[in-house]
């Protein structure tokens, strides 16, 4: 199994990277873009076949170390 995790900055947190990318896009003529958020993407390979156990483990790891709940949100899927 594989966990695919997407981490994004929380709405309230300044995202200067997203802003810089947005400005660059606007500069290049992509003018229908209203916001850019730059986050992280992780793939974690898992052993075993118990999807529910895997889900629990990944959620726990996301909360404890893979993200900082003060500044980041996350979502993931198990495949």
């Amino acid at each position: 199994m594989k966990a695919k995790i997407t981490i994004t900055p929380k709405q309230a947190v300044l995202d200067p990277q997203g802003k810089a990318v947005q400005n660059a896009l606007a500069h290049m003529g992509y003018n229908s873009i209203s916001a850019v958020h730059v986050g992280k993407y992780l793939e974690i390979e898992l052993t075993g076949a118990d999807r529910e156990a895997a889900r629990k483990q990944i959620d726990d790891a996301c909360h404890k170390i893979l993200t900082n709940p003060v500044i980041e949100d996350y979502r993931f899927e198990i495949e």
Binding site: A12, L14, I65, N68, V70, I71
Partner: protein, 237 residues
């Protein structure tokens, strides 16, 4: 006094901190590898700057789970004094020993320059020797020093007098241009509610001798030493 100076793979200000504590201020300072489970007989802990674990994942995120940080958690819970400088500040926030987080500088630039700091309160073991109206001129060197916390946390920091240092200009005014990283409220350093754990982004250890252009950083270490000596005197009496 006996200082433990933590050392992670990627720490790079550890020797500077030991130099200031030992050679400049005449105290004992021992380097402690991140795999250690005990702080020994340390009176205080300094978590120095650098790029622990290459800043992988997030600054301080991996260092925060090292064995030595578990010992620091217990030490802090007992009231022990802990100071985190730059990456040390980031580690303390990740470890939950200080509130909030340090994120990418608003300018996206790595800023390496001297700044001015206003000491907001002298009521802490980290600021008690700073003269009330003295601005500290210290170097910064970071890409992720923008202090962030939610509104409620910020309100708590203000209400409990936990903001220790703010970025200001040479006249002592908290202008936007004087804030090198976009920190909320111009925050450069804070302490916890119990006032025994503090962190700051600027580097007092790089400005503790006149030959380096500023000796203002000494005041931070001298405050810590004063606080420790006061504790010893109180225990003895």
């Amino acid at each position: 006094m006996n200082f433990a100076v933590l050392q992670f793979p990627g720490s790079n200000c550890d020797q500077d901190v030991v130099h200031v504590l030992h050679n400049v201020l005449g105290h004992s300072a021992t380097l402690l590898w991140h795999k250690e489970h005990s702080l020994g007989d340390a009176d205080a802990v300094i978590i120095p700057g650098g790029f622990s674990y290459g800043d992988y994942l997030r600054t301080g995120a991996i260092a925060r789970f090292s064995p030595v940080i578990e010992a620091v958690q217990a030490f802090a819970a007992d009231g022990g004094l802990v100071l985190g400088i730059c990456n040390g500040f980031q580690i303390l926030c990740e470890a939950g020993l200080l509130p909030g987080a340090l994120i990418r500088n608003r300018s996206l630039q790595f800023r390496c320059e001297h700044i001015f700091l206003k000491t907001v309160t002298t009521d802490s073991p980290f600021t008690n020797q700073v003269p009330a109206d003295k601005l500290l001129r210290l170097p910064i060197a970071h890409g992720e020093g923008c202090y962030f916390a939610d509104e409620e946390t910020l309100a708590g920091l203000r209400a409990n007098n936990q903001i220790l240092w703010r970025y200001v200009n040479a006249q002592g005014e908290p202008t936007e241009a004087a804030n090198p990283n976009g920190s909320l409220d111009g925050i450069a350093g804070i302490c916890n509610q119990r006032r025994n754990v503090a962190g700051l982004m600027p580097h007092p250890e790089r400005a503790s001798e006149p030959v380096l252009g500023s000796a203002d950083g000494r005041l931070v270490f001298e405050s810590l030493i004063h606080a420790l000596e006061t504790r010893v005197a109180e225990t003895a009496s």
